[in-house]
Symmetry: C3
Subunit: 278 residues, 3 copies
């Protein structure tokens, strides 16, 4: 990746302060809003079908997260997504729990088929379910057999590139090692902390940040997503360094937002562990 | 304002421990509940039309926040509001995002027209949209052109008094400088911290606190709302003083609740920066 | 209670990492998810009727919390509960606000009548309302007249055993003194902190933890629920010891999750204040 691409991607978010429309689950929505504010973006949440088109129209991008989908919010996702598509706004899809229920797998697939999705951000089990593989599932967590490791990284990258080619979207598969790919290139990101799996919402927050990065970096979608993923991982690492002896996942959650708040382009460029996979 | 009016207003909240029914958005609802508990009030949330009348009946006041309105919760807002009106309970309206969508502008207007709203709490863009002006919008944030400054403060106060006269409600317009007015009097409140704009929910929390203050101070509505607004701003200032070098908006959110928890009448009376505008 | 029963109950949660399906309110849902993660369990939230059966099927147990019930989520609760019953999964019912509205009292009663509820966890006012007594109500808080004290503890235990006999469920009544009972045995638990009443969600979190403990301890339901209740109380005590002079309910909430995160079987066995009531 070009020198300073990551720095520029984050700087653009902070300079542009993009408005992001999020239709997301009620479990982690507060952290999603605060994560967007932390990196200098502005969040708006709206899932009522009669409201979403207007809201999307004043925003720069759209996050669709199916974590607590329901009939009304599904309708809202399609309405918002169609409007975002007309406006050329980036759409980030987070297929939470795809593979864990027939409804989630079907809705995530339909959103991907019918909308101009720019980025798909999920764990490997969700991605496999969405790609039509018969992934096992452990609810909203990755199935141990699906976890990306150094041993299966090349296969994971090939899968990501294929899935990106098939969908036309950038594919961001996050876990102990993250993979971010379009049809032509794939990157491994080795930032992050195991504590990110001990709070709810690290993935949901990242998906919203992916939207902000996409909005602020037109013409550099893949780079922007690598920056979003590496930035979140780096924030997780920094949060981990603050953990005292009595601190647990409550404190880690606070420290993670704090680290996102202080993350700047230079720190991201210096701390990102990004490798192009060939 | 009469000496000790602010102290008395907060003391009455802590002594009376008012039950407050909130129909509010799912983004900041947890912070709203904890903010009410912090100042000694008790929160209840209910938005199902078949549930809200009973819940409102056992409470002392009602908060209506349209931040993530939907068809069901809109119906719940009207049902709860009509019952609250019959019971003479104060109703605080927070028109989140009025001006940002046709639905929000219309619903906020209808709530104001059809219910006995006691207080309207929002930013200047929302207020202008609700008053029928053609406000520009930046989603749920104030439009920069609308921000209250020392230069346009007199005009803002005149607008607030007029809007209060037209609606019969106390109008609380919050921003870098806050304006609280009824038809006859307007006050500027210069407490607060810029960090309050870097978390989600400072406005939503305040609206819920406004309800608690209104319930606990019958016959002193305007003073109670000045106290609520100044108290929130003062808590923001105190939270800011705790910010360490690594702290960001995650920590600020915690410190803000902590500061509300410790706020007492004497500190409020001493720290409030309230000026009557003539 | 057998020596080390509490230690074993918590160790089993951490070793088994049970998946828990929660249909719960949007006020405290984030804390519920983080509390489950803190003790080593995995949360999934889903309330859409078309989604809940699949989600329940991949989980080990189900929490039903009516704190912000609506028509859709009520339908989801029955659909999930029937499926959980077919699968023999434990179901924990948290009747938030039973007695505060006709809808809540009726729905909680219907859930109890029609589903194979394993545990009922609530405050004494909610329990009395559910048992058919004419409890007064203070919204979602216990009515002062209903609070369990040393003076009325024996009567409370008798009530709990009777209610357990009538329903076939373990009854966990929490307050300043907690009572956990089945038809034959009742225990008093004297752990906890008054600060737990100054945050929203201590009860909701506990109900979700009760499900995790029940899933991880088949054949030892009563013991597992005593462990869940004592563990939550002990975490509250430990959180209280961390409170500095400026800390309020914002910090307490974080410390409570942290304490749950660090709670281990030995500490629970050593710190639990459990007494069998005869």
């Amino acid at each position: 990746m070009e020198a300073f691409a990551l720095k520029r991607a984050l700087d653009n978010v902070r300079a542009g302060s993009p408005l992001v429309h999020n239709i997301t689950n009620y479990v982690t929505v507060n952290d999603c809003a605060n994560a967007l504010l932390a990196i200098g973006a502005s969040p708006i949440m709206s899932d009522e079908p009669a409201d979403v088109e207007d809201i999307t129209s004043i925003c720069g991008g759209l996050t669709l997260n199916i974590g607590t989908l329901n009939e009304r919010s599904i309708e809202g996702m399609f309405a918002a997504g169609e409007r975002a598509g007309e406006l050329g706004h980036p759409i980030v899809l987070d297929p939470v729990g795809a593979g864990a229920s027939a409804l989630r797998t079907r809705v995530a697939g339909d959103l991907l088929d019918k909308l101009a999705v720019s980025v798909i951000r999920g764990n490997m089990s969700e991605m496999k379910a969405l790609a039509g593989g018969a992934a096992a599932t452990r609810g909203v967590d990755v199935c141990p057999d699906d976890a990306v490791t150094e041993d299966n990284l090349a296969a994971g990258a090939a899968f990501a590139r294929d899935f990106a080619a098939k969908t036309g979207a950038v594919v961001a598969i996050t876990g102990a090692i993250d993979i971010v790919a379009d049809a032509d290139r794939a990157y491994a990101v080795r930032n992050g902390s195991p504590l990110m799996g001990r709070i709810t919402g690290a993935g949901c927050m990242l998906s919203c940040l992916c939207t902000a990065y996409a909005v602020a970096n037109p013409g550099a979608l893949l780079e922007s997503q690598v920056a979003a993923v590496a930035g979140m991982g780096l924030a997780g690492q920094q949060a981990q360094t603050r953990m005292g002896g009595l601190d647990g996942n409550g404190s880690f959650r606070t420290y993670l937002l704090d680290a996102l708040y202080h993350l700047d382009g230079n720190a991201l460029e210096a701390g990102a562990k990004v490798e192009e996979l060939v």
